[in-house]
């Protein structure tokens, strides 16, 4: 018979009892604060939809919303385009080369986002590495302004989020039986056709999981846009914190938060079967 009826290890009461602390923690420090916070968007000062009206009728705010979605999308595509070859490399290599590639993927993942963002300042600022290099090569006369642009945010965010793309793709590439591409070659298919007809379709679950993960995190990303974006490259999350802490307009911040929550949790809920949370830290 199946394990189905073998599991009954703990009594209902015991199970409920030892699950209780987690339930309390989630309730007290997650559900309740979120519900309390987002309810201000429709209850403060009196029951109202004014905050949403303000958000959806303002060209400025809608532009921030749109540009956040576009940025998240661009970052996702960039991470996929740059990450896929690395995932292939990781799934094929053996020995020290594999170790080097894996290190290059995992070490950034484990480097705190704050530190990586700091490094991007050093790379992109006026007297930064890129400008110095370009000037000494004579390619430009005056340093370029790269910091505090959407471009800087995209470049840094892509770097920060790429491991979330690479790891799921790599794991679904690994699960493709080796004989399959070989058999396709044996049947006379070219490298490109093997990729297009065998490798790529079979890696799609990983691609989907990676894209979802990167897109969801990118939508709500705060640190990198806050530090590298500056006032000209606002995102939903920097807008939320600005409204709350600089303008003290909490109900409005709450309304924007609801939009962001609906987007991220909505996507996560709809695609939850495709989302695979690998054992890694996703602090954003």
């Amino acid at each position: 018979m199946s394990e189905r009826h073998i599991r009954g290890g703990l009594s209902k009461t015991t199970a409920a009892l030892i699950a209780l602390p987690l339930a309390l923690l989630m309730l007290v420090a997650f559900v309740w604060p979120l519900v309390g916070f987002v309810s201000t968007s429709v209850l403060d000062p009196a029951p109202t939809l004014a905050h949403y009206e303000k958000l959806f009728t303002s060209a400025l705010y809608m532009r921030v919303l749109a540009s956040t979605v576009v940025t998240a999308f661009v970052v996702t595509v960039a991470a996929l385009v740059l990450g896929y070859p690395i995932a292939i490399l990781m799934s094929r290599l053996r020995g020290p080369a594999a170790w080097i590639v894996t290190t290059c993927v995992l070490v950034p993942l484990w480097t705190p986002v704050l530190v990586r963002t700091y490094a991007w300042i050093i790379i992109l600022q006026r007297q930064g590495i890129v400008n110095d290099a370009l000037i000494s090569l004579g390619m430009i006369g005056r340093p370029l302004t790269m910091l505090y642009t959407t471009g800087a945010v995209v470049v840094a965010m892509t770097q920060v989020l790429m491991p979330f793309m690479i790891l799921p793709i790599q794991s679904s590439l690994r699960s493709i039986p080796k004989e399959l591409p070989q058999a396709a070659h044996g049947l006379g298919a070219s490298h490109f056709r093997v990729f297009a007809n065998v490798t790529w379709p079979l890696s799609l679950p990983g691609v989907m999981a990676g894209c979802l993960m990167v897109f969801i995190i990118a939508l709500g990303f705060y640190i990198t846009p806050a530090i590298l974006g500056g006032p000209r490259a606002q995102t939903i999350s920097t807008l939320i914190s600005q409204q709350a802490f600089e303008l003290l307009n909490w109900p409005f911040a709450s309304a924007i938060s609801v939009v962001l929550l609906v987007l991220t949790l909505g996507i996560a809920a709809v695609f939850r079967r495709m989302l695979r949370v690998e054992g890694m830290s996703l602090h954003a």
């Binding site: 290890g9 602390p21 604060p33 979120l34 705190p112 986002v113 530190v115 929550l261």
Partner: protein, 266 residues
């Protein structure tokens, strides 16, 4: 496999592209190392002369020191609380049934996909009236919510790997349910618990957004301090702090990874 000239050229281009991408990925991490040993008073790359002045500045500055200790304390307490809470709940969800089991299993993963800025504001909004902003307790509660999903993921995976007949055997041999848990289940999932605890520690230690919003004037985490200095006072001392930070994080992650591999093999 046959390799024509075309294939070889393609391979070369592929290898070069991959190398560039890998440099792009690893460069920001590596960069802080040379910067941190620079002898100049501002950030310069490559550094002209070597010096450990920024490390000295870090270790001698009471603000950096207290921020570091505060972060370590919060991370340790978060690791303990979320490991205990998460492991107990994983056991309940994997080995028992109770009303709302599936709901809780889904809910516990929600912090992983919740934008931290929203959660941070909600917690601030919630904690401020309770006087919890800037307190150790407030931090530990907030960070536990972020860390507990990892503990649940790791311990659930470990529990799924335990042969159910081992627990049945222990019961059959006369152990009470509680002794089965203590004598068989917990020892067998110990690597998963340890990995979960390490992840929890690092989640708290590296956490930036919530710390940024709920830090008080005297209780600042190291991430909040870095954040402030990046904004107002961009000196190489941040590079020195970053190096210490990166080294600690990577060392713990390597350990966590080795431990969690041990889980899968067992």
């Amino acid at each position: 496999m046959r390799s024509s000239a075309g294939t070889r050229a393609f391979r070369l281009v592929f290898a070069i592209c991959c190398a560039l991408i890998l440099v792009y990925m690893i460069l920001p991490t590596l960069l802080v190392f040379p910067i941190s040993v620079g002898g100049d008073s501002y950030i310069r790359f490559p550094p002209r002369n070597l010096s450990l002045q920024w490390y000295r500045a870090y270790f001698e500055d009471p603000e950096w020191r207290s921020a570091t200790f505060f972060s370590l304390k919060i991370a340790a307490l978060t690791a303990i609380s979320s490991t205990v809470i998460g492991t107990a709940a994983s056991l309940a969800m994997a080995r028992g049934d109770f009303p709302g089991r599936r709901l809780l299993a889904g809910l516990v993963l929600a912090p992983l996909v919740t934008p931290h800025v929203v959660l941070a504001l909600a917690l601030y909004f919630h904690f401020a009236p309770l006087g919890l902003v800037g307190t150790t307790f407030g931090f530990v509660v907030a960070h536990s919510v972020l860390a507990v999903p990892y503990v649940v993921l790791m311990t659930s995976a470990a529990l799924a790997g335990v042969d159910p007949s081992l627990e049945m055997a222990a019961l059959n041999l006369g152990a009470s349910r509680w002794r089965v848990v203590r004598e068989v289940t917990l020892p067998l999932i110990a690597p998963g618990i340890a990995a979960g605890a390490l992840f929890a520690f690092l989640t708290s230690f590296d956490e930036t957004v919530i710390s940024f919003f709920i830090s008080g004037v005297d209780h600042k985490t190291i991430t909040r301090k870095i954040f402030e200095d990046v904004d107002f006072n961009l000196t190489p001392v941040i590079a020195a702090v970053s190096v210490v930070f990166v080294v600690v994080t990577i060392a713990l992650m390597v350990v966590a990874n080795m431990v969690s591999r041990g889980v899968k093999r067992a």
